[in-house]
């Protein structure tokens, strides 16, 4: 808004506090395509050698980046679909259908939504060992979907709540069953929420680190987050240009998806998401 205040002191302060992040982002980008002057951090010459991990044979004992990327995609996509599907029906039941103990389930949802799930990781680790799903992609997918579910139901319930009752009333009046009403009339109304949740869960799965680290540390089920962290931990003499290139490769889909679907995602980010 226009005012009789000067803006420049605010801009100066904001720029100063943003400087560390700006420096990190800039070097994150520049370092993937340049070599530094030996012994310093300033870029000297252009090169693509930091991206060699994309086409060279992987080192002994390390998985190929493409296998790992595929794993990450399968993990994120399956999780997103599972969370969205289950949330769609459960949230509708909680938002619109009348059945015994509905109050109890709604209270349970709030508790689950607030409950810090990461505290359960030790028990979940042991459960997966019992079930024989430890160290497999399926196990991590199941757990990630389950932990993401209260959030998904919460978001979808919010979207269902905004659908006008008149639409359903009209459908029921015309003789449609509740199921048909949901499938044909209500679902198209919550379509923005559906796609937002789908994208959000995909990004959340893509970025997940602790679950794959604990539940599937083996090479077969490795995802990009654990691949990158293992790469960083392994090296005695760190090659930050390589790390940053792998990191860039890992983050490109996230940034691209965010840029494309920014408006849709804001529905969720603004809606009181998990801290």
């Amino acid at each position: 808004m226009k005012s009789n205040f000067k803006s420049w002191p605010v801009i100066v302060v904001l720029t100063l506090v943003s400087l560390p992040l700006l420096i990190m982002f800039t070097f994150q980008l520049v370092d993937t395509f340049t070599n530094p002057i030996p012994g310093s951090i300033w870029p000297e010459s252009f090169t693509v050698e930091h991206w060699r991990f994309l086409w060279e044979e992987p080192e002994l004992g390390r998985s190929s980046i493409w296998v790992v990327t595929w794993n990450t995609f399968v993990f994120a996509a399956t999780t997103a679909v599972a969370v969205t599907t289950i949330s769609l029906t459960a949230a509708y039941a909680l938002s619109r259908l009348n059945f015994p103990a509905r109050r109890f389930f709604l209270g349970g949802l709030i508790i689950l939504h607030a409950f810090p799930t990461i505290t359960l990781i030790i028990a979940i680790f042991l459960i997966l060992q019992f079930l024989g799903l430890y160290n497999s992609l399926i196990g991590v997918i199941l757990v990630k979907s389950a932990l993401e579910l209260p959030f998904g139901i919460w978001i979808m319930k919010g979207f269902y709540d905004t659908v006008p009752w008149e639409i359903e009333m009209a459908g029921v009046q015309d003789g449609a069953s509740r199921f048909t009403v949901w499938w044909k009339l209500v679902l198209p109304q919550v379509q923005p929420g559906l796609s937002a949740l789908l994208i959000f869960s995909f990004l959340s799965g893509w970025s997940e680190f602790v679950l794959p680290l604990v539940l599937a540390p083996g090479n077969e089920a490795q995802v990009l987050s654990t691949y990158l962290s293992a790469l960083i931990l392994d090296d005695t003499k760190p090659d930050f240009n390589l790390f940053k290139s792998v990191g860039m490769f890992y983050a490109i889909p996230v940034i691209a998806i965010y840029l494309i679907f920014q408006k849709k995602l804001m529905n969720i980010y603004g809606g009181g998401s998990k801290g």
Binding site: F5, I23, M24, F27, W165, S225, G247, G275
Partner: protein, 433 residues
């Protein structure tokens, strides 16, 4: 159950199944595991029963009698009918017959003596050393070094020896290699100095990070509110990135920033300061960066929530104050901040719980170091049960650590439910009355 109820439960069923399997079961099992001594060495399924020299030596003096010890250690070999029958089966009936006629009922103290007896058979001597060893084993009456899958099998084997019956119970409990119920974890948790240290670390971490999150989030939201739109969205994008970037990459950037060949070291190098790892150099530095790394992510969230709350303030209020000659500080203090009371309360309560239990960014950045300076409670649970350098993962003790957090989490969530506008949430569906 009528059709409408069936539809409701049908729609809810998949979610219920998942919730029971991965929320309720883990909560119950955390309690259960916290009262066991499960670890890598005991395994997580039931254990076996095994006695050997070293286990025998580790049994306290007065727990079992000396006679029992001697009987167990010197049980030796005996040519009995059972062994002979097996020998007839595996080698040949003739061998068994000859051994019976020469040594029937004889006792040998050591394996060497038993093997010699087998070697010295006149007609049917067993020539190969390996076969002789296998044959000698058939007459072994000692229960040392044999694994028994069940307690009954172990007790049956004990009954077959001359060990006094009074010592059977004690031996059985010492021979058990699996996990058992115990309250030791809880006692240990409250007696260890390190527990109090982790609790103090956690309190410090939550307090500092929360203050940074809320304070800086507010600053970002309010300051960008007063900027021209293009500049405002630029700054918001910069501060939104920490939240959407994958944690591993985000922390990698901080690692580079503070590494001994990274940005800070290079800059301070121009001032003549020897290069060092600024993050892990001292405990204070580690704390500063742990708070900054977590804080920037939290401030991101705060900024988004507060920004949308500020946008909801009617602009007429701000214009009116402007006309009355209010300074910017007065605008913030008397108009914006009072309107932000609920979002601030929400963010504070929400992030307290989330910070209390999360360890992802600390694990990635300092891993609790240097030493144990930045080890928080949740990270200690992780290190105890899921990853440590010793390799013996103590699931039981780790679950005890986690149990404290689970209890706090449940209490906090219940409070959350109370403060929520629950009535509005459960308003009845309007079609079925």
């Amino acid at each position: 159950m009528n059709r409408r109820t069936a539809l409701g439960f049908g729609f809810l069923a998949p979610a219920l199944l998942v919730v029971i399997l991965f929320f309720l079961a883990p909560v119950v099992l955390t309690v259960f595991f916290a009262f066991t001594n499960m670890s890598t060495s005991t395994g997580i399924r039931g254990g076996e029963y095994l006695l050997n020299q070293s286990i025998l030596r580790s049994i306290p003096e007065d727990a079992i009698s000396t006679e029992t010890r001697n009987t167990l250690e010197n049980a030796g070999y005996q040519v009995n009918d059972q062994g002979l029958a097996k020998l007839a089966e595996t080698v040949s009936p003739a061998t068994a017959d000859e051994l019976r006629s020469l040594h029937g009922g004889a006792r040998f103290d050591s394996r060497r003596d038993m093997e010699r007896a087998l070697k010295d058979l006149r007609e049917n001597r067993i020539r190969s050393t390996r076969d002789r060893k296998a044959a000698a084993d058939l007459f072994n009456t000692s229960i040392l070094n044999t694994r028994y899958n069940t307690e009954d099998a172990f007790r049956a084997a004990l009954a077959g020896t001359n060990v006094p019956v009074g010592d059977h119970d004690a031996l059985t409990s010492f021979a058990y290699t699996g996990w058992s119920w115990t309250t030791e974890n809880m006692k240990l948790l409250f007696s260890l100095d390190s527990s109090y240290r982790y609790a103090a670390n956690t309190a410090l971490y939550v307090a500092l990070t929360l203050a940074f999150n809320v304070g800086f989030g507010l600053f970002l939201a309010i300051s960008t509110f007063y900027l021209p739109p293009v500049l405002a969205s630029t700054f918001r994008t910069i501060w939104f990135l920490p939240r959407i970037l994958p944690p591993v990459l985000y922390v990698l950037m901080w690692k580079w920033f503070t590494w001994d060949t990274g940005f800070l070291a290079t800059m301070t190098g121009y001032l003549g300061i020897a290069p060092r790892n600024w993050m892990l150099d001292t405990a204070t530095n580690a704390w500063v960066f742990v708070v900054l790394i977590n804080g920037c992510v939290g401030a991101s969230l705060g900024m988004i929530l507060f920004s949308s709350a500020i946008k909801a303030i009617p602009t007429s209020m701000l214009y009116a104050s402007e006309v009355d000659g209010a300074s910017r500080w007065q605008q913030v203090r008397y108009i914006i901040l009072p309107q932000l009371r609920w979002p601030i309360l929400f963010t504070t309560s929400y992030q307290t719980l989330s910070l209390l239990t999360s360890f992802e960014y600390i694990l990635l950045s300092t891993e609790g170091g240097p030493g144990r300076a930045t080890e928080v409670w949740a990270l200690a649970a992780y290190h105890t049960a899921l990853s440590n350098y010793g390799g013996n993962l103590q699931y039981g003790l780790g679950a005890a650590y986690a149990l404290i957090l689970v209890v706090i989490g449940i209490i906090a969530s219940l409070l959350y439910l109370r403060f929520f506008n629950f009535k509005e949430l459960v308003s009845k569906p309007r079609i079925e009355q």
